[in-house]
Every structure is written in C-alpha cells, then in structure tokens.
C-alpha cells in the first residue's frame, strides 16, 4: 500500500481542452446515474430501466407535470443565477435561502397589509419594490461587514438565513388565518389582489422572468465592465486594487445584486406560484443553488442543464417514493450522490495522475 501511494504522483494540469473536460464530467454524471439506479434497485427491487422510466414519467409524464418541472427548474435556476456573481468573486454566500425567504416575506406583507388601501396595480408595484429591497438588504449586510472588517461571509450569511426564517415564522403567526392554525392560507383568495398576472398559463410568468434573467446574467458576467471587475476580484483582490478597482465597492455592489435577484425569486414564489407564505417555501433551494452554480463552473448557460438534471431527478425521485410508498426524502439522497460524483470528477479535470514506474531507483 505504501509503495503504491509513493508511485502515484499528482500534478496540476495545464489547461484541458473544453471537450475533454466536459467528457470527464459526462462520464461522472453517467456513473452517478448508475450509482443512483443501484441504490434505488437495492431499496425497491425494481430493475434500473423501469426506475428511469418512472423518473422520466414523474418529471414529464403529463403536460401538467412537464409545466411544474419547468417551473421548478425556473426557480432553482433563478436562485442559482442570483448566487453566481458573488461566487465568481469568491464570496461564499450560502444565505440565498434567507434572501429568497425575506423577499417572499416582503411580498406577503404588501399583499396582506396594502390590499385594502391600494389598487391592484399599486399593490403589485409595491410588492416588486419591497421584495427586491428586502433581498438586497439581506445581501448588503454580510457584504458590508466583509468589505469593512473582513467578517467571515459564509458564517454571516448562514446566520442571516435563520434570522429570516424566524422573522417569517413570527409574521406567519401574526397574520395567521384562521387564528390558531399557524398558517396564513391563500392570501386574498377571493379578491386575488397582489396575485401576479398570468400570461398564457399559471406557470409561464416565472419561466419567462428566469429566461430573461439567464440572458442578462450571461451578458453581465461575460460582457460588462462589472462582470470583468468581479472576475478580477475573484482571481486576486490584490491585483484588483492595484488595477484601481475599488474592491469594497465591487463586493457590496455584487452582493446587493445577488440579494436583489434572490428577493425577486421570493416575489415569484409568493406572488405568482404559491400565493401564500410558509417558512419552508424556499425548500432548501438556496443551498442546492450553491451546488448548481458551482457544478456549472459559474456559467449561466451550463446552469440551465445542471439545474435541469437536479430538478428532473428530484421530481422523478418523488414519483418513485409515491409508487413504492417510500419517504420523499429519497430525492435528497439521489441529489447527494450525483453531486458527490460531479465534485469528485473535478479533481481529474484539474489534476493529472502519473504513475511512477521505477520506485526502487528513486529511493
């Protein structure tokens, strides 16, 4: 064993051509899917092909399911896009969960408190403003302390998640309908005040918003001056400040943008999709988004595919759980397996493994 360890020599690769890198990732995903099928087979006793047929059925089986898959994809992709600029800057924002939730809370606040005083159009305008501002505030706070005092942003944003959760829990009880139920229920069910307008069908609005956002984020990161500054700060803060980039300002500006987009996703979740607020409305997507963005190497276009993979898998896994009477957390297990494989595959893209042949001579 010791001998074997000595024979392996690991060195950093020079740039790998993109098609080879993606081939390695493709193999990793294939292996991960095989592993997922094996795990499912052990637990349900079905053969792998019918497992994947069930997954596909669960995600695309009917028109309605396809629309819901697309809508889930839109929300996950939107949150992933939101966290991406900060990550590119090496700012580890794991607070998307809280930023989305606080945006949703602001939306619900406008829907509930302004419904009687303002017209529908004005309420919606207030909702948009409030959700974006709330998300931006949740992004601004950790960025401000990071820029001024280098406070650890991972831990800061993590704490902000729970502050948002408890704030939401507090207001849910304040606004609960009926009293004592611990739930808000559908907001303005009879009047539909503050419900975002439907275009085509009830799913399309979020999808269109996120499609526009994807294009915007792609251009913002790769073609704008801001995007360039973000990339430089991410590579080296020292280089950035030598080049005359005000690092503090870039950090704060980028996080405000991240938070604002998260807030916008909160608006969609509460104003257009659920019409209600629960503390679990974000459903851990704030954390999943971190992985989606990272797996796509911060490229907005690739993110469409990574989030599609996770969404299809998770909807398929719930279908499997329903069919076999298993618990719905099955999806989380499969998600975990896929991500472990992709994380692992990055090593083989960045590093080269050489086997030394003549150990004795060297020793």
């Amino acid at each position: 064993m010791r001998n074997l360890v000595k024979q392996i020599h690991i060195s950093k690769r020079t740039e790998l051509p993109w098609y080879k890198a993606w081939a390695i990732r493709g193999v990793a995903i294939l292996l991960a899917l095989v592993a997922c099928a094996l795990v499912t087979m052990l637990l349900t006793g079905e053969n792998p092909i019918s497992i994947y047929i069930t997954i596909f059925e669960g995600a695309f089986g009917t028109a309605r399911r396809t629309w819901i898959t697309a809508q889930d994809l839109a929300i996950l992709l939107g949150i992933s896009l939101a966290v991406t600029p900060a990550f590119k800057m090496r700012f580890w924002n794991i607070g998307a969960e809280g930023q989305v939730l606080i945006g949703g809370l602001a939306t619900a606040a406008c829907m509930i408190c302004l419904a009687d005083t303002l017209s529908n159009g004005m309420v919606i305008l207030c909702m948009i403003l409030a959700s974006v501002l709330a998300g931006a505030l949740w992004g601004f706070l950790p960025a401000f302390f990071k820029a001024k005092w280098n406070t650890n942003e991972t831990l800061f944003t993590l704490m902000m998640n729970y502050i948002a959760t408890q704030l939401a829990a507090y207001y849910i009880i304040v606004w609960e309908v009926p009293k004592g139920s611990g739930k808000i229920g559908i907001i303005n069910q009879s009047t539909e005040v503050g419900w975002l307008p439907q275009i085509g069908n009830q799913y399309l609005l979020s999808i269109v918003v996120v499609v526009i956002l994807t294009g915007f984020m792609y251009l913002y990161l790769s073609r704008s001056k801001h995007g360039y500054e973000i990339a430089v700060v991410g590579e080296s803060q020292r280089t950035a400040s030598y080049a005359g980039i005000k690092v503090d300002r870039v950090i704060i500006r980028t996080m405000v943008l991240s938070g604002a987009i998260c807030g916008l996703m909160g608006l969609l979740l509460v104003g257009s999709i659920n019409h209600t607020l629960t503390t679990t409305v974000v459903d851990n997507r704030g954390f999943t988004a971190v992985m989606v963005s990272w797996m796509a190497k911060f490229n907005p276009i690739v993110m469409v595919f990574t989030s599609l993979l996770l969404v299809v898998l998770s909807r398929g896994a719930s279908e499997i759980s329903s069919t076999f009477g298993l618990n719905h957390s099955f999806a989380d297990i499969l998600t975990g397996i896929i991500i472990f494989f992709i994380i692992g595959s990055e090593f083989f893209i960045t590093y080269r493994i050489n086997l030394r042949k003549s150990v004795e001579k060297e020793a």
């Binding site: 005092w149 992985m291 975990g336 692992g344 090593f347």
Partner: protein
C-alpha cells in the same frame, strides 16, 4: 416566578446535542476543514443508532435485552455511520481537493435525506408490523440517571438527572480542549489549520492530521444525533424533528471562538435560548416565541462581527479554514 430548577435541566438537555456538534466541528475546523456537512452528519449519527437498535429490539424481546448490547449496538452503528460521512467528506476535500463549502452542503443534503428517508421508510423496508419507530426499551437504557439523583432535591435535578451521554459530552469537550491546548498533537493540529505549508515543512503529516481530525470530529457530532433520539426524544424518531440544531452547533463554534471547554456552558446557554419562550410570560401571544428563537442566531452574528472588528489574533478563525492544501502549489 422564574423556575430555575426546572429550567436548567431542560436547557442542558437541549444543549447536549449542540455541545457534541460544536466539539466535533471545532476539532474539524482546527485542521482547516470547514465542514458544513455537520447537520447531515448528526442526522446520520441519529438514524444509524435508530436502525441498529431497531433491529436489536425486533430480534430480542424487551425483558431479555442485555444492557450492554442495548447501548453498545446503537452507539457502534452511530459512530460507524458518522465515521463514513466524515471519510466521504475527507476523501472529497482532502484527497480530491474539492471545494469545502459545496462538499459540505452536499453532505448535509445527503445526510438529512438519509435520516428522513430511513426514518420514514424503515418500517416499510423491513416489512415489520410496528406502527411507528418507538425504541422505548433502548431509550430507557440511554436516559437512565444515577439511582440516588431523585433523592437529592434540587442538586440532583440540576446536576445528576441526565443519561450517561450527557456526561460523556462534557468529558469529550474537556478532553478535546486539553488536547488542543496542552499537547503536542494539539499544537501540530492547530499548525495544520493555520498554515499547512509551514506544518508540512516542519515534518507534520498534513493529510493524516486533516483526515483524523475530520473523522473524529464527525463521530463526535454523530453522537449528538444519537443523544437527541435516544435520550431527549425518548427513542422516537420523527422526521425533521432534529431541525436546525446542526447549524446552531456551527454557530456555537464561532460563539465560543473555537474553544470546546467554553462550549460546555455556551451550549447550555444556547439550549436555554431555545426554550426560553416557555418560561417568559408572553400572554397568549404565541408569535413572540418565534422572535425569542431568533436570539441564538443574532447573538452569534454579533459575536462574529465583534471578533472580526477587534482583530485579536487568538480570536480569529484558523487562517487556512476552507482552503484545500496542495503541496506543489506553495
């Protein structure tokens, strides 16, 4: 009147899982690994213990259970489960040099998923005929307190009314603190976390220290999950009942500024925050209790900010926290 004698034992019982989690995470972070997978590890630690004792209770009728096996099997399963989680994290971040934040979050998703999945499907998967997972016989062994504790009045209630895992948590925290501060191993471990390149040059095996610290840290954290199910929850597993305690444990690491001995009192304090709303008269307004639950997080945030503002060297996180180490990139 604030009933301190009944408040403290409940705060302690809330605090013990946090103490396990934070002690484990402190050891891990001292080696430079920021393991955000701790919440997942604690779920796995809990559910593996449940699975172990579930099979044992199914196989042996409650009267003929052996106390040693009833405690030993769940503990061994729990330790094994969390060790595997620790190994997975270590392999990905240390050997494959993957990003620690992403790996940690994936580990949490995976671990919480494993916990809830097996918690929710164990009965179905084993085709057994019990209505729910209630391991009361095993739990009785875990929560057994000293026989004379009841006869000592308030002293017994405050100090002696807990199961053995609670005392074990305190012992582990003290030992961890001693090792980190006073031994050569601790010094070398801290060196690895502060500057792996320097440690490497001094002849310390960086990889081995990181692996060992992360795996032992995971095993300690996993025991927190076991304590929660077996002692606090009386052997009843319900999905998501463990909640966000894992993240609270990570918050404690900052709150105590990376010192396990401080964590003993701090975790009880956090446990107290968790149930404070039960003791503060808020009338009929239930909403206020949600604001009280926010206190631990706000306090942690304030500590985090103050520590970063004061910039005292001994209060900073390990310098290489979150960074992978590659010898040839120095």
């Amino acid at each position: 009147m604030f009933d301190l004698v009944s408040f403290i034992p409940r705060a302690v019982m809330q605090g013990i899982p946090l103490l396990y989690g934070s002690t484990g995470e402190i050891l891990t972070e001292k080696s430079g690994n920021l393991n955000l997978g701790i919440p997942g590890v604690m779920y796995v630690g809990g559910i593996c213990g449940v699975i172990g004792s579930f099979f044992y209770e199914q196989a042996v009728p409650a009267e003929s259970m052996n106390a040693f096996l009833a405690v030993g099997i769940p503990m061994a399963c729990s330790l094994l489960g969390s060790l595997l989680m620790g190994l997975l994290y270590s392999f990905l971040t240390i050997t494959l040099r993957a990003n620690q934040n992403v790996t940690g979050l994936a580990l949490t998703t995976f671990g919480v998923g494993v916990g809830n999945f097996f918690g929710g499907s164990l009965i179905k998967l084993t085709n057994s005929e019990v209505p729910s997972i209630a391991l009361s016989a095993t739990s009785a062994y875990f929560s057994k307190s000293l026989p004379f504790a009841g006869s000592l009045g308030w002293f017994g209630q405050v100090f002696l009314s807990y199961g053995f895992l609670a005392y074990l948590a305190v012992i582990i925290a003290i030992v961890a603190s001693y090792i980190l501060k006073r031994t050569r191993v601790g010094l070398q471990l801290r060196a690895v976390g502060e500057s792996p390149a320097t440690a490497d040059a001094a002849g310390i095996n960086v990889t081995r220290y990181k692996y060992t610290a992360t795996c032992i840290g995971s095993m300690i954290a996993g025991l927190g999950g076991l304590y929660y199910v077996m002692d606090y929850a009386c052997g009843v597993w319900s999905n998501n009942a463990f909640g966000d305690r894992g993240w609270l444990a990570i918050a404690l690491v900052i709150f105590t500024i990376w010192r396990p001995n401080v964590s003993i009192l701090a975790s009880i304090l956090f446990g107290g925050f968790y149930i404070l709303y039960l003791y503060i008269p808020s009338g009929l307004d239930l909403s206020v209790k949600e604001l009280y639950k926010m206190i631990p997080y706000v306090v942690t945030l304030v500590v985090l900010i103050i520590v970063s503002m004061r910039k005292k060297r001994e209060h900073q996180p390990p310098a290489s926290l979150g960074l992978p180490y590659f010898r040839e990139e120095r």
